[in-house]
Amino acid sequence: MYGCLHSPRPLPSTGVLLDVAREFTPRVEGLGATVLLDLHGLGRVWESPAVLGQGLLDAGQGRGLDLQAALAWTRMAALLAARGLAGLTLVPPGREGEVLAPLPLELLGLPPERQELFRRWGLQSLGDLAALPAVGLAERLGPEGARLRRMARGEDEQPLVATPRPESFECTLELEWPVDGLEPLSFLLARVLEPLCAGLRARGRRAAALALDLVLVDRRSYRRVLEPAAPSADPRTWRTLLLLDLEAHPPDEAIAKVTVRAEATPARVVQFSLLDPAQPSPERLAETLARLHEWTAAGRAGAPALVDTHRPGAFVMSSFSPGAPASVRAAAAPRVALRVFRPPLPAHVALRDGEPAFVSAAGIRGAVAERAGPWRASGDWWDVAWSREEWDVSLGPAGSYRIFRDRIKDAWFVEGEMD
């Protein structure tokens, strides 16, 4: 037997109707404001269909929902009866067409052009459509015509497709006595992380983020959320990451309850190549970056990325998540490197004929032996403007440097050392 619950009024959320239905059976199919229930096997629990139907309505009432319910031996009959008839409707077996006959055609959810066609044919109700000959309908409307006629008679087209429960990856451990310190917590974390990660792996998922909720002995809650560079379903990796994080941010009281929640993401498929170097395991990479927490937390670790601007020295630090290496790789070309000073070193520069002749800055001092320049550049006048005059200078044995005059501040700086 199938049941159907329909809410004629807008629902506060789509999940609330599914929750009502799942109180009776796990096999439910959500269809917006309607939910279908597979009630097979419940006859031994409920004394009659009428009592079961009333139970469905009462459950809705308990959640503040004014519902319409129908019970039938076909899911289509239950669906149409619940949508079209108020209160509780029981459709006896074999009399689906008779019960559905007075209901309006709109319940089939027809497209407007089809509805207009049926109106011109003089069809008003499901009974009118069900009474038409199947062959004639199929000749005029194709397979769609025969399908609509079967629906109007309350015959099923397809089996119930159960709506899966929303995935929740969560594991809680209530402790008999509070624990203090990381060492005992390490064992407890293993106990909650292993089933959690097993559940993730069973569904082909990985955890992109993990929230650790601790209830402390004074009933305060303490929450840490970790989002490593790569998703993982390895309990050892997560345990290490959590312990490293708690080492840096320990709770100030003993722990009475531990809850971990994972934010699941589909597992990443990595395709390896026979001729390429082995690529890093995402789990190991995440663990390594977590161990460098002191650097990553302050944004001082990552992959540098150049910025599309002429402003000298502009770059951003992005998170280090190397993908597969490029199939066509450019050969490395050795170049002179600039060892920059951050911020640039203020310098005193003596000029001769408008050219630098002597440079003096912290740790750098010497007469300019050779020079090239000036190279003038400016930009960002609409924002924080910069304008400079660059020189490459050699101070003999004291090294070669890039110096510049800030034309806005009218001051000299050493940008870096050529090396």
Binding site: L292, G313, P334, R335, R339, S394, E417, D419
Partner: protein
């Protein structure tokens, strides 16, 4: 032919034909016998192919001797083979534009920038700890520790066995640790110690307008008492 036999036959073929110069080591092949090229042909010839794997090597020299250019070239050569490189920079001196100029895929370079505002004494131990973590992960083929901005007395404050411990850690790794410094600091038992001297800047022409820095000349010596020597030139990146 069974699958394992077919795989073994294919690997024998790859090994004998050397279908790809920089292919990963095959089964039964000792990867430590294959050094890591620095990307500078003259230096690779001097070292017999490149820096040894599983060893602590060093590049040291005065300012503008090309030591940073050589170390960047080494990291770029590793990245070009599809591996990962790490640059531990406690003094925060690396210019990403210089790294990009070598043709390196910057997304495969992990850069650890030191905090320059705090006391300098804390920067070095933190950098050494980070190097140990990077080596221990086994993910990076090239790890460069740039201590060229630190004076010898700063380096002398590190615990005595620091470099021995790092050498022991890298010994089990297929990668190499390169120390970039102003003067000799340490090297592993089979590691290279490259001493650079400045060959002076190269300019594009006579003094005057339009003249640009063409590159830096460098002389490099290796081996006991600098017995083997060569010279190379690093082109300027802009």
């Amino acid at each position: 032919m069974s699958a394992p036999a077919l795989k073994a036959a294919l690997e024998d073929l790859l090994r004998s034909r050397r279908l790809q110069e920089d292919a990963p080591p095959l089964r039964g092949e000792d990867r430590r016998l294959r050094p890591l090229p620095t990307g500078v042909p003259a230096v690779d010839a001097l070292l017999g192919g490149g820096l040894p794997r599983g060893e602590l090597s060093e590049v040291h020299g005065p300012r503008s001797s090309g030591r940073t250019g050589l170390a960047l070239s080494f990291a770029a050569a590793c990245v070009a083979r599809g591996s990962l490189a790490a640059w531990v920079d406690p003094a925060d001196r690396l210019a990403p534009a210089s790294a990009a100029a070598t043709g390196m895929d910057l997304s495969r370079l992990l850069w650890l920038r030191g905090e320059t505002r705090g006391p300098r004494a804390r920067a070095l131990p933190a950098a050494v700890a980070a190097v140990a973590t990077l080596i221990g992960s086994g993910l990076f083929e090239a790890v460069v520790l740039d201590v060229a901005a630190f004076a010898p007395h700063d380096l002398g404050r590190l615990p005595g066995p620091t470099w021995i411990r790092l050498q022991r850690m890298i010994a089990d790794s297929p990668g190499a640790l390169l120390l970039l410094s102003e003067s000799h600091v340490a090297r592993g038992p089979r590691g290279a110690s490259l001493e650079l001297r400045s060959g002076g800047p190269r300019w594009s022409g006579a003094p005057g307008p339009g003249r640009v820095l063409r590159g830096l000349g460098a002389e490099v010596s290796a081996g006991r008492h600098g017995a083997r020597r060569t010279a190379f030139e690093l082109p300027a990146f802009v």
